[in-house]
Symmetry: C2
Subunit: 206 residues, 2 copies
DNA sequence: TGATCACCTGTACCGCAAGTGCAGTCTTCG
DNA sequence: CGAAGACTGCACTTGCGGTACAGGTGATCA
């Protein structure tokens, strides 16, 4: 029984892949309903307009991203009790995960929303903003735990470093897509890892 | 005589600000011609379709970006003869420049193209790819010059570090826009600078 | 002077996409 | 049986991208 998947979920799947490859505006409802084998009325039964589709899509996307991050850093912590080392392991796992995607990372909906502000309503934009802030807090918590044991070099603000994690992923995705080299994203995460390592390794004032 | 600006340039200006705030698909030709006070025929006289507008826009954008980078790193080199120090000065200047933009960075057309692949034709996508590769070579050249004097820590590939410069800017822009905090971009460039500094500072094997 | 050209205007039209509205249908479940 | 959930079918509106083509106007140049 593969047919447990509801039409609603099917619409979300089709819309997501369309939006990530073509953008929100270029993914037509006609195209989505053709692939989902439903009618236009069927579409509007589930979503009152395209913005509601965007909202549902973003929410679903953020939920799975959060689950992935939870999983990676929980497993990393199981492999090493030390906060710094487990964080570095987590970043390595993240990098490998990104490198293993056959066609490269499909793109981040957060960036899609960020780059088409006015196409989305307040709700969608707020949801997007909240997601970034949640990532900021997540990574900041981990960094503070690290900093309590390994004092970081002066002059760096931990919140900025926390943002750097998200920023590296977003930037890496843009670069990978623009240049057509999926490996770029993985490389950038490795470089980020190298920075974190340097940042928290004891300064040796020879 | 302010009227030296041709209608063509005016169209490009209006289209650019529209695209950066709403995305390519959401910026209608009707809207552009209304603001430019020309007719639809006038628009299609200059650009045979929307894709040609995109191509011209991207080309113009890339030219000004290149001019800015040239200017910043040339001035930085005049301030300090050493490649590492002048590079660090250049990054600082770049960061300050980004922080000084009153409404934050308006967004990068390269990312817009990267995130709406299928909306643009081959020409536009190739142009976009070339731009990233040019940036890669530019920064790689500077990094090699630095590495010749200050041997970098093992395990880092200079090409990846070169990509990191572009990646940081792209990621920083996405973050700034998504969260509504213009300063994030400037902060991320400062952090990148801090990494470059650590990377090329002599390792002290105490 | 008048011919040419760049740079437009005006009008009419096409097809597609995003909706709106609403009546009807099939299925499932209490 | 009846009600609710998950749709279908169809007709219609608006806006957008684009085409086609017939002009118009001011500057430049032989």
């Amino acid at each position: 029984m593969e047919k447990v998947k509801s039409k609603r979920e099917l619409i979300l799947d089709i819309a997501e892949s369309g939006i990530l490859s073509k953008g929100f505006g270029a993914t037509s409802i006609d195209e989505i309903i053709a692939e989902a084998e439903i009618t236009k009325s069927g579409f509007f039964y589930h979503f009152k307009d395209k913005n509601e589709l965007a909202r549902a899509l973003l929410q679903r996307y953020l939920d799975t991203e959060e689950a992935i991050l939870d999983d990676v850093f929980t497993r990393a912590r199981e492999l090493h009790g030390d906060p710094l080392h487990s964080f570095l392991i987590g970043l390595k796992m993240l990098s490998e995960m990104m490198g293993d995607l056959p066609n490269g990372h499909p793109g981040c909906l957060v960036a899609t929303v960020a780059y088409s502000e006015r196409m989305f309503d307040r709700d969608v934009r707020t949801l997007n903003r909240q997601a970034i802030l949640i990532w900021r807090e997540r990574f900041l918590g981990m960094l503070q735990e690290i900093a309590a044991i390994y004092p970081p070099r002066d002059g760096v603000d931990l919140r900025t470093v926390a943002d750097m994690i998200s920023s590296t992923v977003e930037g890496g995705i843009v670069m990978s897509r623009a240049v057509g080299e999926p490996k770029v994203l993985a490389e950038q995460i490795v470089l980020l890892r190298s920075y974190i390592k340097l940042l928290f390794s004891p300064a040796n004032p020879c």
